[in-house]
């Protein structure tokens, strides 16, 4: 191709025990980038793979010409979000491709389609498979999208592209990014999702990763939506209403039924005390939500080293 793109692109790939699928993906990505871009780099973020993934990358790097290939070694398993954060931080491109899932099948032309779409003015463009997701994912996205109404809805994605502007914006917004999709969706820049027909479903996920994803699902709901606060607020409200009802009931009994001596005072005292307790709970809830907002931005990842392979 004569007219290669002048923009510098980075491809950041999350690698965690993907030795089987990795060579195929690397070669495919590299082929497309080499054909279309004058200059690009590939960054593989190795989240402490225990199989031969790193060897695969090194072998691949040995064959590559005219591009930079780096491996970012995470110190220990930290999950896709933190690892990809590190990878994107290292990337120097004008545009950065994020590949979260190595074993995801997607049509090759989609890569450039996503890039060209972003050139038309979208800072974040995702490619999402059109397929039935796991019911757990479906449930999560359903709850999340309802709770975070008004922002761009989330869904399972194969990969996405970010403009440098989007990365800068996200950095300016918060220091750390516990769940990228949610931050990207709420960063206020224009986003677009390209849906493609999926030919085959990606491989299974490990128990470790499943646990990690479950954690992330709960964390994201708490951090990016006010679901937790709403839920606990509603509960506290309900309990307070209940206590008020008990108070009224006690007064009514006192007037109409002449209860045993001391019962009324005990009941009134208890009702008042519980009311106070729930009111305090409600306030603590509020404080906690504010604290979470402040504190979660301190989360940092640890890396062991950066290996420049080519």
């Amino acid at each position: 191709m004569e007219n290669k793109e002048k923009n510098f692109v980075s491809a950041v790939i999350y690698v965690y025990n993907h030795e089987k699928a990795l060579p195929g993906l690397l070669n495919r990505i590299n082929g497309i980038l080499a054909e279309n871009f004058e200059h690009y780099e590939i960054i593989c973020v190795d989240d402490r793979s225990t199989d031969g993934s790193v060897k695969m990358i090194q072998k691949f790097a040995g064959k590559v010409e005219g591009a930079s290939v780096s491996i970012l070694h995470m110190s220990y398993y930290q999950g896709v979000e933190l690892a990809m954060n590190a990878g994107v931080d290292l990337a120097i491109g004008d545009f950065v491709f994020e590949f979260d899932k190595v074993d995801e099948e997607f049509p090759g032309e989609l890569l450039m389609e996503v890039y060209r779409t972003s050139l038309t003015g979208f800072d974040i463009v995702s490619a999402a498979p059109n397929r039935a997701e796991r019911w757990t994912s479906r449930l999560f996205y359903w709850i999340y999208n309802r709770a975070a109404a008004g922002r761009a809805p989330l869904r399972s994605e194969a990969f996405r592209i970010l403009s440098r502007r989007a990365i800068n914006r996200v950095h300016a917004m918060c220091q750390s990014i516990p769940y990228r999709k949610a931050v990207y969706a709420s960063c206020g820049l224009r986003t677009e999702t390209l849906v493609y027909e999926q030919r085959s479903r990606g491989g299974g996920i490990s128990g470790e990763e499943r646990a990690n994803r479950r954690d992330m699902a709960f964390n994201s709901l708490i951090l990016f939506t006010n679901l937790g606060y709403k839920l606990s607020g509603a509960l506290a409200g309900l309990m307070m209403a209940l206590v008020i009802f008990i108070g009224i009931y006690t007064v009514v009994i006192f007037i109409s039924a002449k209860p045993v001596e001391g019962w009324t005072t005990t009941m009134l005292f208890l009702a008042l005390a519980f009311f106070g307790v729930f009111a305090i709970f409600a306030m603590i809830m509020k404080y906690l939500t504010i604290l979470i907002d402040l504190v979660f931005t301190k989360q940092r990842y640890v890396i062991e080293g950066i290996e420049k392979v080519k």
């Binding site: 510098f8 004058e38 200059h39 780099e41 005219g66 930079s68 780096s70 590190a86 931080d89 290292l90 120097i92 491109g93 004008d94 440098r164 800068n168 950095h171 300016a172 220091q175 890396i303 950066i306 420049k308």
Partner: protein, 382 residues
């Protein structure tokens, strides 16, 4: 065959260390011969580097190197003021991510080393969130061309010194209590004191010395690229170094009006871990460079393609738009790195005395202002 000439000292390599030694000895009224492979002095590492006169800021993980640098800095700036550019703001910044040292650690380190470090707002120079600290420091840059002319002029005044360019050493061997150096063109010279100041070729020179029991230096070799660029108006009076990790530096290059651009990840193009430098590009060098004799990378037909797209992108990722620059050219050079200095990033000067009577000394240093370390070995009064 011509007669063998006698010299008090023979120095291999006409870089700063070689010429400094030559002048030092000439002033001790010694006869000195300098042998240089290239057709000019200061053609390689002395010229092709960041031209930074180190004050020690670069070594936040090696206080000893920093203190030593700071000590030599004062002396070097006094002795060579004429070739120095001092009037610019030298900014050191710590990257928010991937840095081995953060802003407060850097400040503490500067205090311990006793070097200037004034905090300035990172947002003045850097994009939001990229650096967690920026510091105004005192550091200078030297102009290798001016320094070279100074040395050549001074040495020209000394009758006892001769510099032989384009020198092709065939072999060096011991002859009684002298070393005999034979050149390819038939010339030979004899000396009781041989100084190997050839930097990247240090091990190659050692190999030329027959029957010498001498371990080669434990070094690896990096083929490095320094990019020269034209700074924007904003950048012109500023030097910026982001540390401590895979970052970059863009700072004035002597008095040339240009800035040098380097980066930890992209400045080294290739690395050789052998004791002699073995590089795949040597095959394409048309015989001008082998593992036994390094050519000048800058003149090599097989020099690598510039890493400008990479380095410029890295810098642009950090710097605010007004601190822009444009490409002027690239300089390539071989850099030997002592293997044991990786962990703390220190750059000690190694002076090794490999034999006595005749004396053979090899020097290897990654920094220009530690040149005074040579005084001790060269001095007659010992």
């Amino acid at each position: 065959m011509r007669e063998t000439e006698n010299y008090d000292k023979i120095i291999i390599g006409a870089g700063l260390y070689g010429l400094y030694a030559a002048l030092f000895c000439a002033r001790q009224r010694e006869r000195v011969l300098v042998l240089e492979w290239d057709d000019q002095a200061f053609g390689r590492a002395t010229y092709i580097n960041q031209a930074r006169v180190h004050m020690g800021y670069h070594y936040p993980r090696s206080l000893s190197t920093a203190q030593k640098s700071a000590g030599y800095f004062a002396r070097f700036t006094r002795d060579y003021e004429f070739c120095m550019l001092k009037e610019f703001e030298q900014i050191y910044a710590t990257s928010a991510q991937f840095s081995w040292t953060d802003a407060s650690q850097f400040q503490k380190f500067c205090q311990a080393a006793g070097i200037r470090c004034e905090e300035v707002s990172p947002s003045r120079y850097f994009r939001s969130g990229m650096c967690d600290g920026a510091f105004l420091t005192t550091e200078y840059t030297y102009d290798a061309r001016i320094l070279r002319d100074y040395y050549l002029e001074r040495l020209g005044e000394e009758a006892g010194v001769s510099i032989r360019y384009h020198a092709r050493i065939r072999q060096i061997y011991q002859d009684g209590d002298t070393y005999k150096v034979e050149l390819e063109d038939g010339l030979s010279a004899r000396t009781g004191f041989l100084l190997n100041a050839s930097y990247a070729s240090a091990n190659q020179v050692l190999k030329k010395v027959q029957d010498l029991y001498g371990e080669p230096f434990g070094i690896k070799y990096e083929l490095c690229e320094i990019i020269l660029c034209e700074p924007s108006e904003h950048l012109r009076p500023v030097g910026i170094t982001v540390m401590d990790g895979p970052f970059f530096s863009v700072m004035p290059f002597g008095k040339t009006g240009l800035h040098s651009l380097t980066s930890v990840t992209f400045t080294p193009h290739m690395t050789s871990y052998e004791s002699l430098p073995v590089f795949p590009c040597q095959e394409k060098s048309q015989g001008s460079c082998t593992s036994l004799q390094l050519g000048n990378c800058n003149d090599c037909p097989a020099k690598p393609e510039s890493a400008w797209p990479y380095m410029s992108h890295m810098a642009e990722k950090y710097l605010r738009e007004e601190y822009g620059f444009s490409y002027k050219g690239s300089l390539f050079s071989m850099k030997p790195i002592l293997k044991n200095s990786e962990l703390d990033d220190s750059r000690p000067t190694v002076i090794r005395r490999l034999s006595d009577k005749p004396t053979f000394v090899s020097v290897l240093s990654g920094k220009i202002n530690t040149v005074y370390d040579l005084d001790e070995v060269l001095s007659n009064g010992e």
